[in-house]
């Protein structure tokens, strides 16, 4: 809660696609991401604003459909809300879906924290034929309702001034009561909650959440519950279920729903029969069973074409200064330990700047653009049928695409998947997606020495492998995927600011997490070389490298320690063989080149990917992932060696 020396915490909370982050950005100036694909905002953003001399600490939470989370991204939002009690909440509501959105507004009101409703996108609602009387709605709800148009910055000043005013008077929302029997059930349970129970927000909210929440999340939020309370809870649930003939949580949901519909009808005028505009016609084409796929294919091909067109020249351009610096270094330090240390450091930094970023940033930008337009959700819809073949569904499409840039944010973004099963399968498959670092290796080795068709073939084979592995992995799960439930938001004109902000957020995951590990690995490898430990490693690994894979013994270190700095495997290979790029084919054969590329591509992705998997999905899955990658890399390389 507010203390005198701390700025009040103002959280922005709302359903996905309500324009919440756009509103947040408009309020904050910059520094948040917005998204048109449910749930990709997986971390929250802070900013400070000055409203007529009063400083507010504003926080943007990921979009959530309700306070009963169904996926891990929503759980993140709610843990924050419950644990770090905000001083005031701004509930951002999409005016064009007010009826549905009010249900969450009621849930938030039940918290009885001070709050203000931002009735956003009123212009869009009016286009849809929905006119809302904000003042009347405000009177009915007992909390301020401010109409806003975030994309035009309209209503923001009034919204923030209202926030300051409500903070001063500490006005909390009233309780909106439900049907008598439900109210009685809730108050019965409230009485059973012991005096010293660690309630969330207030006793009524805690009781309601006990009835509503899924058990596991509920325990995490509320901790230990005495046997007496558990008994009282199941009694109340049984009573509700008997009276209404549906699960207890649906009784509560129905209460909010009926109230929402009633209040919506009282305060809004709806004119039916609107004409369809250009965007709707475009939407018909995008979702068409035939043209939709042609467009999808064109979008993906164009997507990768642009990335390579931008990335490749940029990579060459950015690598030069690092190479020059290296030459200077070796002249300065000779062959001492200092050279190996600084060289490792330089290569780690350079690998990030010159190899990952040129491909990753354009990919993030294009992906954010597709997302903001609303195309990513539609791609999920169209791809669903293919994803089913590998035991997943359309929502896994976006983590996979992200994986082509960098596996680390891709694994974080699996939080949008509702079921743990889908999350695990998707996370296990992501390391098989060639990230930008591995793409540069494929381009430099396969495309350069063997021709572009071999590279395309390699990609095709790679995708096929992901499909087959998906099928195999999903066999280990008894339960099938719960299936696709994905909101398809209206198409909209993208906002450059939203797109840029989104790129910045995703990039942070790479800069903060993957890059430092990359640099550390690079330095470690430099030291390994200085102490000549690489020779020992080569000898130890020679049965695998020489006997099984048929590669020169010198490549042992490159293969195994490649996971410390994957993006530099190729440079390491050249160093190990003691040749330059142009002369590579004098040192190894075409067959060896393919085996090397296959092994490097599918071997343990990189240290950062393993680390993020450990953190996000768990130790066991991270270890399984490593084992899976090692075995697939070895088996595939041997098979390929035998057939070519």
């Amino acid at each position: 809660m507010t203390t005198n020396n701390k700025h009040p915490d103002v959280i922005f909370i709302g359903q996905p696609n309500c324009g919440k982050s756009t509103l947040f950005n408009a309020a904050a100036g910059l520094r948040a991401e917005t998204s048109n694909f449910p749930g990709t905002t997986v971390s929250h953003t802070h900013s400070k604003v000055n409203v007529n001399g009063k400083i507010l600490n504003i926080i943007d939470l990921p979009g959530t459909y309700s306070l009963n989370p169904t996926d891990d991204a929503e759980k993140v939002a709610l843990s924050h809300l419950f644990q770090e009690k905000p001083d005031i909440m701004i509930n951002v509501v999409d005016a064009s879906t007010l009826g549905r959105s009010l249900e969450m507004t009621f849930e938030l009101m039940e918290l009885r924290f001070p709050m203000v409703v931002a009735l956003n996108m009123v212009d869009l609602a009016e286009k849809k034929g929905i006119v809302i009387d904000a003042q009347k709605l405000s009177n009915r709800l007992g909390i301020p309702v401010i109409p806003t148009i975030a994309s035009h910055g309209r209503g923001i000043k009034e919204l923030l001034e209202t926030v300051v005013r409500i903070l001063e008077v500490k006005q909390v929302p009233p309780v909106l009561t439900w049907s008598r029997d439900v109210e009685e059930a809730v108050s019965d349970l409230m009485e059973s909650i012991p005096e010293d129970f660690p309630v969330v927000a207030n006793r009524r909210f805690t009781a309601v959440k006990m009835i509503e929440l899924e058990k596991s999340f509920f325990h995490k939020m509320l901790g230990f519950i005495s046997p007496e309370l558990t008994r009282a809870l199941s009694q109340v649930k049984q009573d509700l279920e008997r009276m209404h003939n549906v699960p207890a949580y649906e009784v509560i949901a129905a209460e909010r729903h009926h109230l929402a519909m009633k209040i919506f009808e009282e305060n809004a005028k709806v004119k039916r029969g609107r004409v369809s505009g250009t965007l709707e016609k475009l939407d018909d084409l995008i979702m068409h069973p035939l043209f939709g796929y042609i467009i999808l294919l064109a979008v993906f091909l164009g997507f990768f074409w642009i990335i390579f067109k931008v990335g490749n020249p940029l990579e060459t351009l950015l690598l030069q200064p690092f190479e020059q610096l290296r030459v200077i270094l070796s002249q300065q330090f000779g062959e001492g330990v200092l050279f190996y240390l600084t060289d490792g450091l330089l290569q780690g930094v350079g690998g990030g700047v010159a190899i990952v970023l040129p491909y990753f940033v354009p990919l993030l930008f294009l992906m954010a653009l597709l997302e903001d337009v609303g195309y990513l959700a539609r791609a999920g819809f169209l791809m669903d049928i293919f994803m089913h073949r590998m035991g997943l569904h359309g929502k896994s499409v976006s983590p996979f695409i992200l994986g082509f840039g960098c596996n680390v944010p891709a694994i974080i973004s699996t939080r949008i998947l509702e079921s743990r099963r889908d999350r695990i399968i998707t996370a296990l498959l992501i390391p098989f997606i060639p990230c930008s670092a591995r793409t540069t290796i494929i381009l430099a080795l396969v495309a350069f020495y063997m021709g572009p068709f071999w590279a395309v073939g390699f990609y095709f084979f790679n995708m096929l492998l992901v499909g087959i592995l998906g099928r195999v992995i999903s066999m280990f799960f008894k339960t099938p995927s719960p299936g696709l439930i994905l909101e398809i938001p209206s198409l909209k004109i993208p906002s450059l600011r939203n797109v840029v902000n989104k790129v910045v957020i995703q990039l942070k995951a790479f800069l903060k997490f993957a890059w430092p590990i990359l640099i550390a690995g690079s330095v470690a490898l430099g030291l390994l070389q200085f102490f000549h430990l690489d020779r020992i490693v080569n000898i130890v690994l020679s049965p695998l490298v020489v006997k099984a894979l048929g590669l020169p013994q010198e490549l042992g270190v490159t293969l195994v320690f490649g996971f410390l700095r994957k993006e530099l495997s190729m440079i390491m290979m050249l160093q190990a063989l003691g040749v330059n790029y142009q002369a590579l084919m004098t040192a190894i054969t075409r067959e060896q080149l393919i085996v090397f590329t296959v092994f490097v591509s599918f071997f343990i992705p990189c240290l950062s990917t393993v680390a993020i998997m450990w953190k996000e999905i768990g130790r066991r899955i991270a270890l399984i992932s490593v084992a899976l990658n090692v075995s697939v890399a070895i088996i595939l390389s041997i098979i390929i060696r035998l057939i070519i």
């Binding site: 649906e250 129905a254 669903d384 696709l484 439930i485 938001p489």
Partner: protein, 81 residues
């Protein structure tokens, strides 16, 4: 009464029940799909692919996989009445 898979396109339907487990019911509820809501199946659909539902009550669109569509029971709203 029929499942969404058997239901006709572009006709007003009313959600009668959701047969699935709690996960599905909760997810649909949070997306604003309740019993008695009026919905319309979008005419655009892919053979054996997911189904697009437009909820007329809350004015939102949701794509659901066929497995889930099978579990959503609906009845046709008679326009004559």
């Amino acid at each position: 009464m029929m499942s969404l898979i058997e239901a006709p396109r572009s006709k007003r339907l009313r959600i009668f029940d959701v047969l699935g487990g709690h996960g599905i019911r909760r997810r649909l509820l949070s997306l604003g799909f309740h019993k008695d809501d009026e919905i319309v199946l979008d005419s655009r659909s892919i053979l054996r692919g997911p189904i697009l539902i437009k909820n007329l009550t809350s004015d939102t669109s949701v794509a659901v996989g066929r497995g889930i569509a099978q579990k959503i029971m609906v009845e046709i709203i008679d326009d004559e009445q």
